[in-house]
């Protein structure tokens, strides 16, 4: 094994100092808006337990949905869209839900609606499209169907109509939510449909 070293930049040692002093235990602000990373100007990747909102032409994407559920909400008139990738049905009363609301369907949908509202959408004009919630495994007592059921309940309570869905079965899905407001769902075999 070799390891050759050289000092290319004989600068003074850089001093890393405290800047905002926030504690690690604090809720990560990025998690509230999803912590989603814009990977190019036109595409925003939403990870597991994250959400993101856009009011421009960006395409919101989330991949590898199994039992997780994707909830896509749009206010077409305001041109504001948001996408949630939630993992579990119920976060209310869970201490971790405050730090990571998008992990759960109930707290996630509430956060998504609030974020859309902040971005200029009118919650009364929102329409929902839902994908995922597959029953991938017999081992894991129907977490997918429970996610889908919870989405229905939470959207119903919020007065948001579900205009289309592609849920259940035992199939993984990847989704794209573009500026036309349609949700493009792609399965593992490459089959795609827009809902």
């Amino acid at each position: 094994m070799t390891r050759s070293l050289s000092d290319d930049r004989p600068d003074e040692p850089a001093d890393r100092t405290e800047s905002d002093g926030d504690a690690v235990a604090d809720a990560d602000p990025a998690a509230v808006t999803g912590g989603a990373v814009p990977d190019d100007p036109g595409r925003i990747k939403v990870g597991v337990g994250e959400l993101a909102v856009t009011s421009d032409d960006a395409v919101l994407t989330t991949s590898g949905l199994g039992s997780c559920v994707a909830v896509a909400l749009v206010d077409e008139r305001a041109g504001v869209r948001g996408l949630l990738h939630a993992m579990l049905p119920a976060g209310e009363e869970k201490p971790t839900a405050a730090a990571r609301p998008a992990k759960y369907v109930d707290t996630g949908v509430d956060s998504l609606i609030a974020a859309l509202d902040d971005a200029g959408a009118d919650p009364r004009r929102l329409e929902a499209r839902v994908a995922g919630g597959a029953e991938m495994l017999d081992l894991t007592d129907a977490v997918g169907p429970r996610n889908v059921e919870r989405v229905g309940e939470v959207l119903d309570a919020a007065g948001v109509p579900v205009v289309a869905s592609d849920v259940g079965d035992a199939v993984g899905r990847t989704v794209r939510f573009g500026p036309d407001g349609r949700l493009v769902v792609r399965a593992a075999d490459g089959f795609e449909r827009a809902i």
């Binding site: 094994m1 850089a14 001093d15 990571r100 495994l137 081992l139 199939v171 993984g172 990847t174």
Partner: protein, 396 residues
């Protein structure tokens, strides 16, 4: 001395934030968007690390740390990615060494800012040193010594080009150990009181190094069982135990189609184990196991073969754990999966996430000679039960 394993969760989160800062700094410098894909805290022995890095060539930048943290941080690129990196930088190829040094300096500075914030103490960085290294020599000095080190590893991904790299930080384990204990002792003590000391996630510091034995023992048993069953020479390529946010696990498996088997574990610890092959590997190994060519590459016959293989691997794996921990663990029958990799593992992650946000992931790549087949084993134990078993292990 006791360490709360959840303190590793806090550290992991910190490393993740640091990596995000590093990605931001690099994005500004290169004009390329970089995303933090995965951040993991690992506890690994020098021997395991040397094996894991065998045959890899890296270039990178190292800085020494003094002040809030003592130790060394390293930013490393796979040597094969260097051209892609240089094409992004002002000055391009002609600037190789100084350009890489500059990138490393900026990214490591961003990374350490997060830690300085957390500690409330300045961290002094020594001037960056450029290096080229073979194998585990890329790791901070001292990583190969001793039998249990903390290592933080982040992978950043440039989505528009093929470039990713890792940041390794090895805090001198003495001061770092004190840091973890200092930050978490009250929580660990409170947990012990509230639960009569039985369900706490605090474990003796010394038993952290047992984690790496777990990964290693389980993997080599599984590989031996494949060899016995198939007659193919089989080796364990990588075997490490990392502590990662569970939500990152599906992204780590990726969106390529995978086939394999999933098991539920019962006993101490309980949890899940997934053995996933990329499709071509799954078909190749099933083909090698079957007496005749299957009708279709991943049809019923291949499914049966992969389930049987999964059974012997899982038995080998958990026997290894049970031996190390002195507990009894059993597994469910195999459940065959064939779908987008991330999708197959998402229900397991969801189930574990009901009780914990971070998980111990044991990454193992098992390779069989003669045919091109490799698989990844994701072992996801319940953190409380694992901590309890490790704790018992250290009792005289």
């Amino acid at each position: 001395m006791r360490v709360d394993v959840r303190a590793l969760g806090a550290c992991n989160r910190l490393a993740e934030r640091g990596a995000k800062q590093a990605a931001g700094a690099l994005s500004d410098l290169t004009g390329t968007d970089l995303a933090v894909e995965v951040t993991g805290a690992s506890v690994a022995s020098g021997e395991d690390l040397a094996e894991a890095f065998a045959g890899r060539e890296s270039i990178g930048v190292s800085v020494g740390l003094r002040g809030g943290l003592d130790g060394e941080a390293v930013l490393a690129f796979d040597a094969v990615n260097v051209d892609a990196l240089l094409s992004l930088l002002p000055g391009g190829q002609s600037m190789e060494r100084s350009a890489v040094t500059e990138v490393g300096n900026i990214a490591l500075g961003g990374f350490l800012d997060g830690w300085a914030n957390f500690l409330g103490k300045a961290i002094d960085m020594s001037p960056p040193r450029y290096f080229e290294a073979d194998g585990a020599a890329v790791l901070p000095d001292g990583a190969l010594a001793g039998d249990g080190v903390f290592l933080f590893e982040s992978r950043l991904d440039a989505t528009t080009t093929d470039l990713d790299f890792s940041i390794y930080m090895l805090p001198d384990s003495g001061p770092f150990r004190d840091l973890i204990v200092g930050k978490t002792a009250p929580a660990a003590a409170a947990g012990g009181e509230a639960n009569g000391g039985t369900t706490s996630t605090a474990v003796p510091y010394e038993s952290l190094s047992t984690f790496s034995s777990l990964a290693k023992r389980g993997s080599s048993n599984a590989a031996d069982n494949i060899a016995m069953m198939t007659g193919l020479e089989t080796s364990v390529d990588v075997s490490r135990l990392r502590f990662v946010p569970l939500a990152d696990v599906p992204a780590e498996v990726g969106t390529e189609p995978h086939a394999g088997t999933v098991f539920e574990l019962q006993g101490e610890p309980s949890g899940y184990l997934a053995i996933l092959f990329e499709e071509s590997s799954a078909a190749a190994i099933a083909d090698a196991m079957l007496p005749m060519d299957p009708d279709e590459p991943l049809g019923d016959m291949a499914e049966n073969a992969l389930c049987e293989l999964g059974n012997v691997m899982t038995s080998g794996f958990i026997d290894g754990w049970a031996n190390v921990l002195g507990t009894s663990i059993t597994h469910s029958p195999p459940e065959f999966v064939h779908d987008i990799g991330a999708s197959t593992i998402s229900p397991l992650v969801a189930k574990l996430s009901e009780r914990q946000d971070y998980g111990f992931v044991i990454d193992t790549a098992i390779e069989t000679e003669g045919i091109q087949a490799r698989c990844d084993v994701y072992a996801l134990p319940d953190e409380r039960e694992l901590a309890r078993a490790l704790d018992r292990l250290s009792d005289p």
